[in-house]
Symmetry: C2
Subunit: 137 residues, 2 copies
């Protein structure tokens, strides 16, 4: 049975569930950073999924990336499936800007997480839910 | 008309062309690192491609990732579309291992590229071409 990895759960805030993936907000206010966690038991490597699973997840990746870009007007969306620390398959979708921390280098492994103030994350999650409601759910 | 970004061309060795993407070997011997460069003019953001383009590219991503994992027996494949430095759409497919440089942190933005000796890259490209011939072309 699928269960969200406890390290991912500890570092993120649940936004909601799409058809195949849960959407998580990384609790790190340095970047606007979402994670899709497909609810597929024992999934680790992208290329080991079935083609139809990849297509379903990719549909959600593209929609979430479009919402992220629309909300943030970021310069570039970074999309990645790494899994060097948490091997449970999950996809990072991150809004990047030239003035943000560690630009143009990656967000992973850079410094320490700066959690949101609860009001700020509540507001982001609310707006995300409105947009994902409209466009995906 | 599509033309490979000159910065990507300078840092990589051409392996060959698949149906929609060119396959490049990053000329950095610290990691076994491939790049797919879809031959689509002005492509930048993954989510702005048409669904059928994403599906075609993803088919190639999955095949190249499987070849990379088969050749390297790596612990984890990292797949990413970043584009913070070169905005032309390109997908990184990188073999990672616990003993490699900067594990478990990412390969991007870490230290300086260590080019292959030509014999070594020739051999890798040859094996890649055999495997990609068999499995994709």
């Amino acid at each position: 049975m699928y269960e969200l990895d406890p390290r991912l759960a500890a570092d993120t805030i649940m936004v909601g569930s799409l058809g195949i993936s849960d959407v998580l907000l990384m609790n790190d206010s340095r970047w606007f950073w979402l994670i899709l966690s497909p609810r597929i038991e024992d999934a680790v490597e992208w290329h080991e999924l079935h083609t139809d699973q990849r297509q379903d997840i990719d549909f959600e990746i593209a929609n979430v990336a479009a919402v992220l870009k629309g909300m943030s007007s970021c310069k570039k969306v970074n999309i990645a499936s790494l899994g060097n620390i948490v091997d449970q398959l999950h996809i990072h979708i991150v809004a990047r800007n030239e003035e943000d921390e560690n630009w143009p280098n990656p967000v992973w492994g850079h410094g320490n997480r700066v959690p949101y103030h609860e009001d700020a994350s509540d507001q982001i999650v609310e707006v995300l839910r409105e947009h994902l409601d409209l466009e995906i759910l």
